[in-house]
């Protein structure tokens, strides 16, 4: 079953990993920054998404490190994940392009339409 929609958190997780491997906390901060503060991933949600993305082959574990006594697991984007992210980015860009074109046409129509008489 092909699925065209990608949820926003998933999109930002993949986008966060596009410029290199990151650990969980790094992904959360990056997703928040990329979404201008709109998306603040909860840790449970993040790991559920990472589990699913790993099962789909879009993300892979990329090593563990211990920092200040805490385990940090790194994740990286796979080629399939990069392709999926590219397809979704293109879809969103096309949507935005179409909407912008329509808005321009609407603005032109409103500008040239005769103004209704006011009572």
């Amino acid at each position: 079953m092909s699925e065209q929609e990608m949820r926003e958190p998933t999109f930002f997780v993949l986008a966060s990993l596009a410029d290199g491997r990151k650990h969980g906390y790094g992904i959360i901060k990056d997703a928040e920054e990329l979404s201008d503060g709109r998306v603040r991933l909860k840790v449970g949600t993040l790991y559920a998404a990472l589990d699913r993305l790993q099962a789909e082959g879009f993300v892979a574990a990329a090593g563990d490190e211990v920092v200040s006594g805490r385990l940090r697991r790194y994740f990286e984007l796979t080629e399939a994940g990069a392709a999926s992210l590219a397809a979704e980015s293109e879809r969103q860009a096309a949507n935005a392009r179409h909407a912008t074109e329509r808005l321009k046409k609407r603005a032109a129509r409103v500008a040239t339409a005769p103004k209704a008489a006011t009572a």
Partner: protein, 317 residues
């Protein structure tokens, strides 16, 4: 080990053992990193509930691997069905009290316009719907689950089992719908909430129409002027074959996520339709015919193309 870490590790015990062995330390590390960034020494509001919900979701196994948009749609359909049943039942019991004539079954309003106290059960679903529409995911889910506890309490307390409380079958069926509100999250987006509203309105219209039709045809034949409200879920039997056709077309030909969502919804509906109790023989016949059609549809969709090597594909230009 700090108190905060202890609380996180305690919540993470809800995950399956194998998952914990592989991931719990990395997840605790991330949780502590986030807490440190927030300058917290206690879990954030709702954080432990989110961890437990994620843990339960991970225990769902294959269901957890169903794409999120499909699960969201299935939840919207199931939650809407629960609300649709509540709306129909509330209206039907109020109308029934007004239109009934003294007969073998004397139907007197007990509270307001309602017969019996089952309005408490259905009323909680209406509140759950309101919570869902304003985006209160946990309030919506909690009210739906709490309604089942209320229904069970009514069942034990009722002295007139026919109308004072929902039937056991209805409680189990609606309880499954309440649990299905956890498999997806349509509450978070405006589109998801609109889907819940459309689903609820559609189910209510469908069931309202079938009840009205039943009262006109069978009530009239029996010489009664009142509305006969049978088990509402029973009227879903004719939905099954049509829903199956729709789901297969959406899944196999149009590759739409709605096909999977309908299939998920059919999982709890089908057994109730097939095995649900009804006092009337024609229900059994109708259900048998509906079941036969459903099996025939599955054969047409899966067996015949394989036997003859057919492959149908619709592509968008």
């Amino acid at each position: 080990m700090s108190d905060l870490e202890n609380r996180y590790r305690s919540a993470l015990r809800w995950y399956p053992k194998e998952w914990r062995a592989a991931n719990v330390d990395a997840m605790v590390g991330t949780l502590l990193d986030v807490a440190e960034d927030d300058k917290r020494t206690r879990p954030a509001r709702g954080e432990l509930a989110d961890l437990r919900a994620s843990a339960l979701a991970s225990r769902l196994g294959p269901l957890g691997r169903i794409p999120v948009p499909v699960r969201d749609r299935a939840t919207a359909l199931a939650f809407g069905l629960g609300v649709g049943i509540a709306i129909t039942a509330l209206i039907a019991t109020a109308v029934q009290a007004k239109t009934t004539t003294p007969s073998l079954l004397r139907l007197e309003p007990v509270v307001g316009p309602f017969i019996g106290y089952s309005f408490l059960f259905y009323g909680m679903w209406i509140l759950a719907f309101v919570a869902a529409i304003i985006g209160r995911k946990w309030a919506a889910r909690s009210l739906a689950i709490a309604s089942i506890l209320v229904a069970i309490a009514l069942r034990f307390a009722a002295d007139d089992l026919l109308f004072a409380a929902p039937t056991t079958t209805t409680i189990v069926f609606v309880g499954i719908l309440a649990l299905m509100s956890f498999i997806g999250n349509p509450f978070a987006t405006r589109r998801g909430r609109a889907r819940i509203a459309v689903s609820a309105a559609s189910w209510a219209l469908f069931m309202g129409f079938t009840l009205w039709y039943q009262s006109v045809t069978q009530g009239g034949q029996a010489g009664r002027t009142d509305w006969f409200v049978g088990p509402l879920w029973l009227w879903l039997y004719w939905v099954v074959p049509f829903a199956l056709i729709l789901a297969l077309v959406l899944m196999r030909l149009l590759h739409s996520g709605w096909g999977g969502a309908i299939m998920i919804l059919l999982v709890p509906i089908a057994p109730f339709v097939v095995f649900g109790w009804s006092p009337r023989a024609e229900d059994a016949i109708n259900r048998g015919v509906a079941l036969a059609i459903a099996i025939a549809i599955i054969c047409v969709a899966y067996c015949i193309p394989r036997i003859f090597g057919l492959r149908i594909r619709i592509t968008r230009s």
